[in-house]
């Protein structure tokens, strides 16, 4: 523990935005459960469990956005298929939660989940074995998205598929997965996905305490994910990653295997996205093939663009802002929301190429210039 502390401080040393980000996360971790569990419902400071879960969901999106920013903002690969990794992580968690239901399902089968009984499965498919063990499921949350990213990345980066081509192929990847998961005979519940979860590690998923615990876990995961990414981008490898984004040919001419570097970053990012998916599922209570739909994946990109790519915390901010707006508008005026989302894509790319964070930085830079100028002007006045 002692060994890591200084590292964390060192990572935040030159990272002003990161300091604020981590501070806000810490604050949330304390304030939100307190306001939900300790403050009476009648108080103005009370936060309902619904809001706690909603915030928890936003945090998992924030982690997903950070993972996407690592590959897009730093490595320059626009992945339109990160929903695939998110979804796979979610399915791994969902399978564990399904097995936890045990004989409390509608059909009361102690081994087979309800949908399998319904579809006349005689025994558990081989890939469902072991998912009653939490540790194995958690391992799979990392391994399955990581493995997919590894195989896909290995094929794509080795043959130097880049730019728009790569984006389109990642989109095809998640599209193919969506089609596959919609099929009943794949063994993941088809159209309906996995749902009706009861408990996690023996804790009731509906209880306020579990919900708050999941919220805190999400916040911790976001912070850890942030530090991992920050550590990577601050290292010499991080320099190389941005160097690949700017001039791939030069990196190769220097003797680096750019495909391995890309592969490493892609796999790390996929695993983080998988973790985000795994935390998302117990909070929203369902995972279905819709998570793989191409539009979901492309929506994630706009979170990152909106917040400001290449900053990590900007991506997280974007995820929260856009999803807050989505929650509000889909309830208040569902027709307007799609117009807004579409407009957001256009406006952000045209007028906010560096997102909210970029705009803030620009404004503060202008301000400091102005204050400098005014200070100098005053000096002149005085000397006159």
């Amino acid at each position: 523990m002692m060994k890591y502390k200084p590292l964390i401080f060192r990572l935040l040393e030159n990272d002003k935005g990161g300091k604020y980000f981590i501070a806000i996360l810490l604050l949330l971790m304390i304030v939100v459960p307190t306001c939900n569990l300790l403050i009476p419902e009648s108080s103005v400071f009370y936060i309902s469990t619904y809001v706690v879960t909603l915030l928890g969901k936003y945090l998992t999106y924030a982690l997903l956005a950070i993972s996407l920013d690592l590959v897009w903002g730093y490595l320059g690969i626009l992945s339109l298929g990160h929903g695939a990794f998110f979804g796979l992580g979610g399915y791994a968690m969902g399978m564990y939660l399904m097995r936890q239901i045990g004989d409390r399902g509608v059909y009361g089968n102690p081994i087979l989940p309800d949908f399998m009984v319904f579809l006349d499965y005689k025994e558990l498919p081989w890939f469902w074995h072991g998912f009653d063990q939490f540790w194995l499921a958690m391992l799979m949350v990392f391994i399955v998205p990581g493995l997919l990213a590894f195989v896909f990345g290995w094929l794509a980066f080795r043959s130097r598929v880049t730019g728009v081509y790569l984006s389109i192929i990642t989109q095809a990847l998640t599209y193919a997965l969506m089609l596959a998961f919609f099929r009943n005979d794949l063994g993941f519940g088809g159209n309906n996905g996995l749902t009706d979860f009861k408990e996690i590690l023996g804790f009731d998923l509906q209880s306020d305490y579990t919900r708050n615990a999941l919220f805190v876990c999400s916040a911790i995961a976001v912070a850890l994910g942030y530090f991992i990414c920050r550590f990577i981008v601050d290292s010499r490898l991080g320099s190389l990653i941005t160097a690949i984004r700017d001039s791939e040919g030069r990196v190769r001419a220097l003797g680096y295997r750019d495909e391995y570097i890309k592969l490493f970053v892609f796999v790390v990012s996929a695993m983080l996205a998988g973790v985000a998916g795994a935390l998302y599922v117990p909070q929203v209570g369902i995972i279905n093939p819709g998570e793989f739909s191409p539009i979901n994946s492309i929506e994630m990109v706009i979170w990152v663009a909106m917040g400001g790519r290449g900053t990590l915390y900007g991506a997280a901010l974007g995820a929260i802002v856009v999803n807050f707006a989505k929650t509000y508008f889909t309830a208040a005026a569902p027709e307007v929301w799609l117009f807004m989302l579409g407009g957001l894509f256009v406006v952000v790319t045209l007028f906010l190429p560096h997102g909210i964070i970029g705009a803030i930085k620009k404004i503060s830079a202008m301000k400091s210039k102005k204050t400098k100028a005014s200070v100098e002007a005053q000096k002149l006045n005085i000397s006159n």
């Binding site: 990577i232 290292s235 010499r236 490898l237 320099s239 190389l240 941005t242 160097a243 700017d246 001039s247 040919g249 030069r250 990196v251 190769r252 001419a253 220097l254 003797g255 680096y256 295997r257 750019d258 391995y260 570097i261 490493f264």
Partner: protein, 239 residues
């Protein structure tokens, strides 16, 4: 390089080209546009695969089947025609990335700069006269400074063979004289192949010159003999 050919969509960019460069030799390559100079460099560095022929390095290593990174790690460094540096990185960072060795992913993830590394970088900064600019982003440098930075990155790699494509394009007379000195001094320890259009610059290098035309060697010799070669005059001046 022996009997190398490559064609793009039926157009023969390199046609049965053979070229031999000795150790610690400084060789200039000239030729009109489309003679295949840059394509030749692409083939040596593994960027383009030839249709036929062999490229032998260090008397025994066949470069044809190797990847760009493998070839670079054998000690072949290249400066591109268009100066290619990491524009969003500082000059110092550019040189740091070019440091010899440590090319694996995890070595870079846990990389720590040693004082020797720093010394090496300072030394190269001196050589390329960029010590005052080490903190600036490479993108802010002038065209000539970028060219030098790129040569400096080659030096950091400590290669045995340097392929230098049009090093003095966009340089002032003074800068280009400095570059000529730099390349000549480099040839004491390394083999250097220079591709250039600027005849005066090539003359100032005072070395062996190869003339390429339509993908194969037209003439070879010192600058004077090449310039008086009837075929070369025809190619440059037209029939």
């Amino acid at each position: 390089m022996n009997g190398v050919s490559v064609s793009f969509d039926g157009f023969k960019a390199i046609n049965n080209l053979s070229l031999y460069v000795k150790k610690n030799e400084l060789r200039s390559i000239i030729g009109p546009n489309g003679a295949g100079k840059t394509t030749m460099m692409d083939i040596i560095t593994g960027k383009t695969r030839p249709d036929e022929g062999r490229v032998i390095y260090d008397d025994m290593v066949d470069l044809i089947s190797m990847s760009e990174a493998e070839i670079a790690n054998l000690g072949i460094g290249r400066k591109f025609q268009k100066p290619t540096v990491f524009e969003h990185h500082s000059v110092y960072e550019n040189l740091k990335l070019a440091l010899e060795g440590r090319r694996k992913v995890f070595e870079n993830l846990f990389f720590k700069l040693t004082s020797e590394d720093d010394d090496k970088i300072q030394e190269v900064l001196n050589t390329i006269a960029l010590q005052e600019h080490y903190k600036r982003d490479a993108g802010e440098l002038s065209h000539g400074q970028k060219q030098w930075l790129e040569i400096g990155m080659l030096l950091m790699q400590n290669p045995k063979l340097l392929l230098v494509d049009e090093p003095v394009a966009g340089m002032t007379k003074q800068e280009s004289e400095h570059t000529a000195e730099l390349l000549t001094s480099l040839a004491e320890k390394h083999s250097v192949v220079v591709v250039e259009h600027d005849m005066e610059f090539v003359r100032s290098l005072a070395n062996r010159v190869t003339v390429l035309h339509q993908g194969s060697v037209l003439a070879e010799g010192d600058m004077d003999s090449v310039q008086n070669n009837q075929k070369v005059i025809e190619v440059y001046l037209g029939e």
